[in-house]
Subunit: 219 residues, 2 copies
């Protein structure tokens, strides 16, 4: 683990105290998020795509971009920016001005390559599956040749990244602390609910432990 | 309510059946999301910023961009793309290939203007506060002149938008339905937890009902 280089591209300009450039801070945030957003632009027109992701070392794996604008853009060697954002809570300050969110977010910059070789594609698919839902790969039906061909996987090499986090109680101070209103934080985590079995299930399989105990923050 | 014009910019290319261009579908998704992601590019380098937002008719309000790259970019009349994404569940198919997420997402395109006039800024701040946490504006200390000056608010006029949603059980079919593994959906909603009172609270105020009963999907 180590720090990313800081340049004008990834330096946090607002609230620089909330920034980190350390992989040890950044990578757990990337790994906890269930989705990311990919930003790119064609002829000055920005686009944005939400998608699932998995990190593999200093690389982000994306899949399923076939036939879209983004794939062509990445193939041409162009840079993307990717964000993941975990919303931890709503910060209720005494003053409207100090209202905020508690969050952990990462923006990373990189360029991608399509992973073409079938064995590498299969390994990337395994990584994607296991990152999102550890334990599933061994139980589900593995991709066959046709499915592997129909899947596009891109690896984005992370060139730079920045995390920005806010945690803790509201930032009111001075005489505002006396203002007569409740202040505090409302935590807003993702909390998985009871699993819903597919109505097409043909036999009575128990809900696996990796589904029952799924916790986005611990996987 | 009505449909947005569909052009090459906002036409959904992958899974077009999952698309809608109807404000009646799109606006509730925007309103439920606690954060959005704003995509823009400078000299071909994409950037992305997570931030809170509020919708006011056909306009998205953003605040707190002062001193950043995005504000300058918007001021110059450049287009942005904004995404909101609600992750509703993880879809466990029998085949690795059919694994998916249930989600409701929107991508919108527009251009912004800074809201400069103090009364309009105050109205926009009220809208932002009430959209995120209905009921709070009347109880918190209102912004003073200095705070209003220190706040930058941008209104983005929505030119086009597209929603993309997936809901329901896994899409396995044929002989895969016999594959011996549990299949179904794990719902992954945001579930607010017990509010944490600010340790600096100087008197025993009760947690307000709008905090206790906060529900991202109903506000």
């Amino acid at each position: 683990m180590s720090e990313f280089e800081v340049t004008d591209r990834n330096r946090l300009m607002r609230y620089p105290k909330r920034a980190s450039y350390d992989r040890a801070v950044i990578y757990p945030i990337i790994d906890e998020a269930l989705v990311c957003h990919v930003s790119f632009a064609l002829d000055g027109q920005p686009f944005i795509i939400p998608t699932i992701h998995a990190r593999d070392g200093d690389r982000i794996l994306l899949h399923g971009l076939k036939g879209g604008r983004l794939l062509e853009y990445i193939e041409a060697g162009n840079p993307v920016a990717i964000a993941v954002t975990l919303v931890d809570g709503i910060v209720f300050a005494r003053t409207v001005f100090n209202h905020s969110m508690n969050y952990r977010s990462v923006v990373l910059f990189g360029r991608g390559k399509i992973i073409e070789e079938p064995a590498a594609k299969l390994a990337a698919l395994q990584r994607l599956t296991e990152r999102v839902i550890p334990g599933r790969w061994d139980e589900a039906r593995a991709p066959n040749e046709k499915e592997i061909k129909a899947t596009t996987i891109v690896g984005i090499d992370i060139e730079q990244a920045t995390s920005k986090c806010r945690q803790g109680p509201p930032g009111d101070d001075g005489e505002d602390l006396e203002f007569p209103v409740w202040a505090g934080v409302l935590p807003t985590p993702i909390v998985p609910q009871a699993a819903e079995t597919d109505p097409k299930q043909t036999a009575g399989f128990a809900v696996p432990d990796y589904v029952k105990n799924f916790n986005p923050a611990k996987r």
